[in-house]
């Protein structure tokens, strides 16, 4: 039996369970290692794309330094969403259980894992649903938009800017230029070459260094062999593998399927590990927290609340490339 005087003890114990489950879940998450994580206190966060600044020029003797001018690109507003759940320890549960009863702890552990897993899946969905501009149903069951600041989906051959009519693509290609190729060494090499000569809106080459391959578990072994073999994978030559050491492979289990069960295990992605946080954002207004009841209700239920606020940002997309692996 849990008495009213046991509330502080139960609170401390459930806090411990929550923190332990959170630590385990966070350690397994891949999304926050790719997305640029930042805190915000704003409900609506306006993100402005800047296409570099111009103004550097050679100076004559005694000449004033020129003013730097920003080349302002598109903007997008990301609005916070609130999520949460109640964990109720009923009067009956308290009467017939101890404070460390699995019946109570399992509820907290489960809801904590549910929160972190949904957060990670919602991040993976940004990539998996990145090939269509249509709204999609997210892991929380809500219809959410799939477009970035330029009004097209995350992975597109028609990314445009606010300054001129130039477009660029961030679709993975094979050497023939076909988009959405299957995972091959040739496609990795061709996409790295294409990204390396990415031109910004000012017409200046700003290399995107695609140094990471992101795959589902089903493609992990293949990706590791392609990238890390001493020689060329699948060939009998004694040639060497030039991308070994230049590219690393990350496995993200959530890329295997969409929340509705659609198989997406053939999808694969590449990104510039130093700059991918400029393309994909995770903005926390409040990380998941378990709040203990401050008062006992009339029905003697004790209610813990788990809630959090975050928004996902699709920003300037040049630093992450994707393929559905269909060609």
């Amino acid at each position: 039996m849990i008495l009213s005087t046991d509330l502080p003890k139960l609170r401390d114990y459930l806090d411990e369970i929550f923190l332990e489950s959170s630590a385990d879940s966070i350690a397994e998450m891949v999304g926050p290692t790719i997305f640029g994580v930042q805190e915000t206190e704003k409900w609506s966060y306006e993100y402005q794309v800047e296409h570099g600044v111009s103004g550097i020029k050679e100076l004559a003797d005694g000449e004033e330094l020129p003013e730097v001018t920003a080349a302002e690109g598109d903007s997008i507003t990301w609005t916070q969403r609130e999520f949460g759940a109640k964990v109720t320890v009923t009067a009956r549960t308290r009467k017939f259980n101890d404070y460390n009863s699995p019946k109570i702890t399992a509820m907290v552990r489960s809801v904590t894992e549910d929160a972190w897993e949904k957060i990670d899946q919602s991040l993976a969905d940004v990539l998996l649903h990145g090939f269509s501009a249509s709204n999609y149903t997210d892991v929380y069951g809500k219809s959410v938009p799939a477009v970035g600041p330029d009004g097209v989906c995350v992975f597109s051959a028609s990314h445009s800017n606010n300054l001129n009519s130039d477009v660029f693509s961030n679709l993975i290609v094979n050497p023939a230029g076909t988009t959405n190729p299957g995972l091959t060494r040739e496609a990795i090499v061709a996409s790295r070459a294409a990204a390396a000569v990415h031109k910004d809106a000012n017409g200046i080459i700003r290399p995107v260094k695609l140094d990471t391959v992101l795959v589902s578990p089903q493609k992990y072994d293949e990706a590791m062999r392609i990238v890390n073999s001493e020689g060329l994978s699948g060939e009998f030559t004694r040639d060497y593998n030039p991308i070994k050491g230049l590219v690393k492979v990350i496995m993200w289990p959530r890329l295997a399927a969409l929340p509705d069960g659609t198989d997406t295990s053939a999808y694969w992605f590449m990104f510039d590990s130093k700059k991918v946080d400029r393309s994909l954002k995770l903005l926390w207004a409040k990380r998941p927290m378990l709040e203990a009841p401050e008062q006992v209700l009339e029905n003697n239920n004790w209610i813990w609340k788990l809630n959090y606020y975050y928004s996902i940002g699709r920003a300037f997309p040049a630093y992450v490339w994707g393929s559905q692996g269909t060609n």
């Binding site: 609506s44 903007s75 997008i76 990301w78 501009a133 009004g151 097209v152 028609s158 477009v167």
Partner: protein, 119 residues
């Protein structure tokens, strides 16, 4: 409001309408075939269709550019601001044209004696 700056994207022809991105086919028509966005918004996505429209010569209100709509609105005495979206201008100009036609009805040529045939 959440999402991209749709007003700016629509204004510059980089989105089909507020909240509606171009499809791949429409992007192709816009970027590769260089068909004006007003025609693509009206479902014209091939060069053949576009050339046929040009041959016909007439330009319906909903295929006019924002500038053309503003000029037409000025001619018709419609009050608008530079911020008035193209879609609103289309509605305003269409209504003004309807009113103009009511005031100055087009007289159709006589269709004959009005006698009906007999069996």
């Amino acid at each position: 409001m959440a999402g991209p700056n749709w007003g700016n994207l629509v204004e510059k022809g980089r989105a089909k309408a507020h909240g509606i991105p171009w499809t791949e086919e429409e992007q192709h028509a816009r970027l590769v075939l260089k068909i004006p966005v007003e025609f693509i918004r009206d479902g014209i996505v091939t060069l053949e269709e576009y050339e046929q429209c040009l041959k016909k010569g007439d330009k319906p209100v909903f295929r006019m550019t924002k500038k053309e709509l503003q000029d037409e609105a000025t001619r018709l005495g419609v009050i608008y601001a530079s911020e008035t979206p193209r879609t609103e201008l289309i509605a305003l100009v269409t209504r003004a044209k309807e009113k103009e036609q009511l005031k100055n009805p087009v007289v159709l040529p006589s269709s004959g004696t009005g006698e009906t045939g007999s069996n």
